[in-house]
């Protein structure tokens, strides 16, 4: 959609750029696989705790792989740092929110 601007401004056909593009495709696909696994886990696992386990583990790792894969596609240290910041923020909120959901689920289970 957005034309790739990164890879050090290397022109199309540059072997280094092809290599970096292949790396990006591989890492992003690998990350997407983890998202798929997490979604399957969300649908198939029996209760809230195992579903959370599937979601958080898979999403954190999946996003990490996608961020790592996108890194050679952006220009400049600032854009890199923004990508890493996004990953860290999602890690943080995912970890915190899954704790809160698990706690709410445990409270509900004890009441029943």
């Amino acid at each position: 959609m957005v034309p790739p601007g990164g890879t050090g401004g290397r022109p199309r056909g540059d072997p280094m750029r092809t290599l970096l593009d292949v790396y990006t495709y591989a890492m992003v696909s690998f990350g997407a696989f983890f998202y798929l696994a997490g979604s399957v886990g969300l649908l198939r696992f029996p209760d809230a705790y195992t579903r959370l386990h599937a979601l958080t583990k898979a999403d954190n790792l999946g996003l990490a792989l996608i961020v790592l894969g996108l890194m050679p596609q952006v220009d400049g240290v600032l854009a890199w740092l923004k990508l890493v910041l996004i990953w860290l923020l999602v890690l943080l909120s995912g970890a915190a929110v899954s704790q809160l959901i698990a706690r709410a689920a445990r409270r509900r289970d004890r009441q029943q």
Binding site: M1, L89, L92, S93, A96, Q99, L100, R103
Partner: protein, 313 residues
């Protein structure tokens, strides 16, 4: 490939919209609605409407979703009773027919739009340099159609007054919502200490970047209001009593500055909200900076709800 992704997104959107309408429980419908908002913002990104995408994610999915969850939790006790008194089959059939008719008329209108659609985009782009801002969306919102933005800000103030008007007389001027308490060493308190400094910087950055890039006061203010709400929910701070003077001033400062600048335009440039030559950028920045506290306070207080307990002067 992009056709496949677009079609998948459209099918998902339609499915989620259907789910939101037919879901039996309010909470299920709302989770569908929030997912719908997030997916819609992704679609806006694909349509190169990054500003709209940010607003949809922040206001459409995020803030509205949070407001609806609050409403659903208040309605939970009476929801089953409300379902049991269903209206008669005749009335339901009429309602279905009317909804269908509205959908058909809307669809026909969209199909009847001229192709290519009439646009003012070229004129906006031609006149952008006069505004001194680089993001055409900001130019439209605060220069070419500033009146709309002014009225929008006033509508928000009125909405907040509307929420406050639900308060019983004895707690008028008191603190909104419940006093949240959570384990001071728990994960929520930890999260509410760790995230707001980051969120503060991101919110102000998005506000500031709005002059030349996607972003702006609305999106930035939503992030700041979310940080405030997080601190409130973790019990690290209490909501301010709505009778406080600084709070009242903060709520009206944005629209008042906006209107004042409008009248400056009458005196100097000959029309309401007209900016004198060369002063457009500073005036736009002034308006946005004045709207920022107003928006943060209003969005946060809309979530907090009407005053419910006495407290503070």
């Amino acid at each position: 490939m992009s056709v496949v992704v677009s079609s998948a997104a459209v099918l998902l959107l339609l499915g989620l919209a259907l789910w939101t309408v037919v879901a039996r429980e309010a909470f299920l419908a709302i989770s569908g609605f929030v997912a719908y908002g997030l997916l819609l913002s992704l679609v806006w990104v694909r349509l190169y409407g990054v500003d709209v995408a940010l607003t949809e994610a922040a206001i459409g999915g995020g803030l509205t979703g949070a407001l609806l969850i609050g409403a659903a939790s208040r309605l939970r006790d009476t929801e089953a009773a409300a379902w049991s008194e269903r209206s008669g089959p005749g009335l339901r059939a009429v309602a279905k027919l009317l909804s269908l008719a509205v959908a058909v008329v809307l669809g026909l209108c969209v199909l009847a739009l001229p192709e290519p659609a009439p646009t003012l985009a070229d004129e906006v782009v031609a006149r952008m340099p006069a505004t001194g801002v680089g993001n055409p969306i900001t130019g439209v919102l605060l220069a070419f159609r500033a009146l709309d933005t002014l009225l929008e800000a006033i509508v928000l103030v009125i909405a907040l007054i509307g929420v406050w008007s639900f308060a019983p007389d004895r707690v008028w001027g008191g603190r909104p919502g419940l006093r949240h308490r959570s384990d001071p060493d728990g994960i929520l308190a930890y999260f509410a200490r760790l995230l707001p400094p980051v969120g503060l910087i991101i919110g102000v950055y998005i506000f500031w970047a709005g002059a030349d890039h996607p972003g702006g006061k609305f999106q930035g203010a939503t992030i700041l209001a979310a940080m405030w709400t997080l601190v409130l929910m973790a019990g690290l701070a209490d909501t301010p009593a709505i009778g406080r003077r600084w709070l009242r001033i903060g709520i009206v400062v944005g629209p008042l500055v906006f209107i004042a600048i409008g009248f400056v335009g009458v005196a100097v440039a000959g029309a309401f909200l007209a900016y004198p030559d060369g002063w457009a950028k500073p005036m736009i920045v002034l308006i946005e900076a004045a709207l920022m506290p107003t928006l943060v306070l209003i969005l946060g207080l809309l979530l907090a709800g009407p005053p419910s307990r006495r407290g503070g002067p």
